[in-house]
Structures are given as C-alpha cells and as structure tokens.
C-alpha cells in the first residue's frame, strides 16, 4: 500500500495546496476542531471530529442563489452561479463521508440542485480511518466501518505512516497526483492498529443500538407514540442538533435587500424552530412536541421510507455531545424501540 511518513504530512499538504484549495480539520484555541483552509503551518487535528460537520463544503450554512435588479415595474434575474473551483477535504471521518451519500439522495435527485452538484463535482473527499472512537460514536449501527471509510480516497494511520487507498476514480486521480511523494509500505503495523480499533468499536457502549424498530413500515406507530411528550419536554427549540448534524439538510430561502439590488439566499433552517412550518393562516406544528417529533421521524422513518431503508443518521455523535439539554437520537431510539 502507498504511504507517506506522518512527519511529512506538512510537505504533502503543501503539495496538494499548490494545485487545489485544501481544507483540513485543525484545533482551535478552545480545544474544539474545525475545518480550515490549509496554510503553511496548519496542523491536522487529532480530535475525534469537528464541531461543524463537513457538510458545509457542499451545503454551506448560507449561500447566494440568485440576484435581482428591480427597476420600476421591471425585474432582471441575474444568474450568479459559477462552477466551483477544485478542492480537497482531507481528514473526513467515516461518518461524515457517509453523510455525503445521504445528502446526495436529496440534492442530486431530480431536479438536481446545481449549487450542491458543482461543489460535489469539484470536491475530492479524502477520508481518515478512525483509531480512537468515542463513547458517543455509533456509526456501526448504520453499517459504517470507521476503520474503512468511504470517500474518494481513504487514509489509514498506523501511528507513524499514513497509507492511501482509492475508492473512486477521482480518488485514484488524487493519489496519482501525489504519488511522487508516496512509497510502498508494509501494512503489518497498520493491520494491528486496525484490529485494535475494531475491538474498541465492538466494545463501544452504543455498539448494540438497534435500528430494527425503525423504517418506513412503522410510520404511524411511531408518529402516534405517547413517548414524544416526555422526550420533547425539555427541548429548548434551538437548532444546535440540526446545525451540527451532518445529514440535516432543511433550508430556508430568503431575500436580502442590499440597497442596490436583491440577493436571494439559501440558509440552513431547522425543523426545531417555531416558524419552520408557519403560514399566513396557521401552523401544522404548533408545539415543540410536533417539531421535535418531525426531526426524529424524518431521520428514522420518513427518510428510510423514501430511500430504500437508508436512515438519515450516520452515528457521528455530535448531537449527543452538543445538545444543551442532552436529548438526542440515541435516547429517542431507545425510548421508541419496539420490543
């Protein structure tokens, strides 16, 4: 397998960044990690994951869709779209890599979202296998192997070296583009590391969480469950879970008057917000119970109902660590489990 010594990562990043914009997870001064554009001196974070997921690269929190010029009674529609530049996201974890497949099922089905697609087309996802999963991790529950992540190319660390494997043509092209820096390496130690990680994955406290109770067939049963009241009781109605979630993709479209034209922009929205479904003449989800239920029904029932059983969750654990009141999908799944 092709590899590079870990202490040469900076050289590698420099070589990548020469050709394309490179993003890597870096540690912030507050101890949390976030993706940043690589610049000389940026070191890759060793944190479990970033606070914000990697979905931002393809579905940013806010983006301009179209501009309008208004003159008298006339409107000019200005298509401001541009092809995305080529970029590489390095160090994406297995859970986030799977989230892209889930987002694809929303944005790339007819009618294709051209804003999302151009970024997908021009972005190369280079993943990094996990070696230190946390107690909040449960990607395995959704059939994700944290030691063998998806993405265009996958990387594996044995502590001293980073090994590369292509998963797609784009990934192969990426590896080819840096092949002069790589060398064949022995994977004996890597195999050991992988085996050790696998044994940890099996021991994770949430490893045995079951999805058997969920999916499209149980739509009404779960919708009408009497558990939602208790589960949503303490919910603050904030959007933290939604915004740190790698698969949440609901959005709002709004206009902003710059004073010399209108910008129509799209931004993340949250089904947890009270105005999400509010209309001029009423609101079908009047209390937090209905909003809370929507979020989990979407991930555990509606999404699989529409997507051959695929759940709208990748088990990254962000909502487990970030919800201000510690209510999350795991607690919901356990409460709704049909025994």
């Amino acid at each position: 397998m092709l590899k590079i010594a870990k202490n040469r990562l900076n050289e590698l990043f420099a070589a990548i960044a020469e050709k394309q914009t490179l993003y890597i997870p870096v540690d912030r001064e507050d101890g949390a990690a976030e993706y940043r554009k690589w610049e000389n001196g940026c070191e890759m974070s060793g944190a479990l994951n970033t606070v914000r997921s990697a979905k931002d690269f393809f579905f940013p929190q806010t983006e301009n869709l179209v501009d309008f010029k208004m003159e008298g009674k006339n409107i000019e529609v200005i298509d401001i779209r541009k092809e995305s530049e080529d970029f590489v996201i390095f160090g994406v974890k297995a859970c986030d890599a799977r989230s892209f497949t889930i987002l694809d099922k929303v944005f790339l089905v007819d009618p294709v979202d051209s804003y999302y697609k151009t970024r997908r087309d021009h972005g190369t996802v280079v993943t990094m296998a996990c070696t230190r999963p946390s107690e909040t991790c449960f990607c395995g529950v959704f059939g994700i192997d944290a030691t063998a992540p998806e993405g265009d190319a996958a990387c594996f660390s044995d502590g001293e070296n980073i090994f590369f494997k292509a998963n797609t043509e784009k990934g192969q092209a990426f590896i080819d583009s840096i092949s002069s820096m790589l060398e064949e390496g022995d994977t004996a130690k890597l195999d050991e590391v992988q085996a050790k990680t696998k044994s940890i994955l099996e021991k994770l406290p949430l490893a045995n969480l079951s999805t058997d109770s969920f999916g499209g067939a149980r739509l009404k049963e779960h919708f009408n469950s009497d558990k939602w009241g208790e589960l949503s009781e303490a919910c603050l109605g904030c959007g933290t879970c939604t915004f740190v979630c790698p698969t949440c993709q609901c959005y709002d479209i709004k206009d902003f008057n710059t004073g010399h034209g209108i910008k129509r922009f799209r931004c993340w929205d949250s089904c947890m917000y009270s105005d999400f479904t509010k209309m001029a003449h009423g609101n079908p989800r009047l209390t937090q119970l209905e909003r809370f239920r929507q979020r989990f029904m979407h991930k555990l029932v509606y999404f699989p109902a529409n997507n051959e059983g695929e759940f709208g969750c990748v088990g990254c654990g962000r909502c487990l660590s970030k919800c201000p009141i510690s209510m999350n999908i795991v607690k919901v799944m356990k409460a709704l489990e049909v025994k």
């Binding site: 912030r28 507050d30 101890g31 009781e233 603050l236 915004f243 931004c267 970030k322 209510m327």
Partner: protein, 323 residues
C-alpha cells in the same frame, strides 16, 4: 445529597404539597443529564439525579410549569435562585405554584472540558482529592478537578440562595468573585484588539439560538429575531457582520436583567464566551449606577428602569469610549 433530595421530593409528593417535581434525569452516559419533570415516586427513584454534572438551570422551565395545575417542586442551586427571582420580578412565573428547595451549587463539571484535553471514550469520572480519575475505553486518564469545572462555576458569584421555601444542606454567602477579570482584560485592550477578539469569537456562531433559548432572561413570547417583519429575522448571516449584531442586540436586551447565570456560554456549541458581553453590562451598571445584582431580590427597581437626577449623562458613552 441526591438521596436527601429524592427522599424529600417523595415526601412532598406523598403529602400533596406538590404534584410534580422538576429536576434532572439520568442520561445514557454518566454526564448527559436532561432537565425533567417527575410526577411519581417511581419515576424519581428510577431516574432522578443530582451530581457533578447537573449544571442545567431549570428556572426557565418554571415559566411554563408554574402556570400549570397544582404546585411544582423545584430544586434550585444558588445561581438558579437568582434567575427565578428575576422571573418573579418580571411577572413571568407564578411564585405560589412553585415550592423551592435550595440545594448546594457547584462547582459542576463540564464533560466538554475533559474532552478538550483529548480524552476520548469517557466511561466514568471519579474525583479523588481534586484530581479527576477518568475511566476511558483506552485506559485511565487523570486531570486536575479545577480544569474540568463549568465555566460558570469557575467564576461563581454567590453560594447564597436568594429565594427558597426550604434548604437541603447549608446556605452559603455571596462570593467575592473574580468574574470581572476577563472583562477588565478586554477593556484594557485597544479598540482594534477588542474588535478582533469579538470578531474571532462571534464568527464561530452557527446561529443555533441555543444561547437565547436557554437564557432565563429571554422569555419574550415572540422574539424579535423570530419576527419576519422585524427585518432582523434572518436565520443566517446575510452579511459578514450579522452574527455580531445578533449577540450584541441580545446582550442589550438582557442588560440589567441578566443575573449572570452563565447558561449562554455553557450551552454554546462553539464555546463562544457570550457571558462576557453580559458581564460587561453588569460591570458598567455597577460602575455607573451603583452595585446592582439582578435577581438578588424581587422588589427593587433595576437601574435601567429607574430615572434619577444623579444618573450619568448619555455623553458618558463617548467619554468612556475615548482611548
């Protein structure tokens, strides 16, 4: 402490003094505790918890809960009692419908602080002589207790319960805290440095509204930021300065009412030190109008709600702004 609280809660439920209890419910792990209302002794026995991780302030839930049928027992830590008092002052809670038991405060622990040290796979924590022994999937780790405590507890302003019907444990005193140190540090920066500090912090904001929604001073029926006709309702920044405005407007709106409970910074998923904005207001109010602690009582008029001929002139803003 937990046992004493459970015992008392069950007594008060049994003798009909209250019909519900608001406290904290055990989570999936040892630290992910959720505020919860308990209706029966069985529910309390099964899930009630009070430990190093029960940092959430349940006062705000009483806005709704105190308007329901019957009386509710609330366990309030010293800082929570300030929030509750302030809510009484603002006529947001029905005092008669709440039976308050004051319980000791922190310091509480913050799991994020532990994880920020790179400690992962955390399964349990023990405090041995102010050293945390942390059991993880990768073996035992240790860290000093004081490095893992909640930000709001590190700057604790008071161990005193300002309102209660009874106490479990002893009452404490108002502390001589160093909570304004960081504010002073910011004040001593140049305008440019300070601007950069806040730009860096606030640019992390993901506009999740957790700070607003958890804030016991934010109890408007309809927030200006949720009103499509307000012109500031955007869910995301429509320009690069917008996040700053959200937090600054919010800080202004809770000025003189914020009790410094610290929940905003505790819940911020991006670790923005939002409490510093509020503390700046508290510090200024103290300096300009005399010492005032929101929530310390339920009757006094807040400095920003009173006019006095001795009040400083608006020009103070300009004078103080000069470097």
């Amino acid at each position: 402490m937990q046992e004493a609280m459970i015992k008392r809660a069950k007594e008060l439920l049994a003798d009909g003094t209250v019909n519900r209890v608001i406290g904290w419910k055990k989570g999936e792990f040892f630290y992910d505790i959720t505020p919860a209302v308990f209706e029966t002794a069985e529910e309390i026995d099964a899930d009630f918890v009070f430990d190093d991780f029960t940092s959430a302030n349940v006062s705000k839930y009483l806005v709704k809960e105190s308007k329901k049928e019957g009386k509710i027992l609330a366990f309030l830590k010293p800082c929570d009692t300030y929030s509750f008092n302030q809510l009484i002052k603002e006529h947001r809670v029905v005092r008669e419908n709440v039976y308050i038991i004051g319980v000791p405060g922190g310091p509480k622990l913050d799991i994020e602080k532990i994880k920020a040290k790179g400690i992962t796979g955390v399964l349990g924590v023990k405090n041995e002589n102010f050293t945390l022994k942390i059991d993880t999937l990768y073996g035992e780790e240790t860290m000093p207790f004081y490095e893992a405590i909640c930000g709001k507890c590190a700057d604790c302003k008071s161990k005193k319960h300002v309102i209660y019907d009874e106490l479990i444990g002893e009452d404490g005193d108002v502390l001589d805290s160093n909570r304004f140190d960081m504010v002073e540090k910011l004040e001593n920066m140049t305008a440019q440095e300070r601007f950069e500090f806040w730009r860096e912090q606030l640019s992390k904001c993901i506009r999740c509204n957790a700070c607003r929604n958890v804030c016991p001073a934010c109890t408007c029926e309809k927030c200006v930021f949720d009103n499509p006709n307000s012109g500031v309702e955007n869910k995301a920044a429509s320009d690069s300065f917008e996040e700053n405005m959200f937090h600054i407007i919010r800080a202004f709106h809770v000025a003189g009412r914020c009790t410094d409970c610290g929940e905003c910074s505790r819940v911020c998923p991006q670790n923005i030190p939002l409490h510093l904005l509020n503390r700046k207001f508290i510090k200024d109010i103290n300096a300009l109008y005399g010492e005032y602690q929101a929530g310390a009582d339920t009757t006094s008029r807040a400095p920003l709600n009173t006019y006095d001929t001795e009040d400083c002139e608006p020009s103070i803003v300009h004078e103080r702004g000069v470097e």
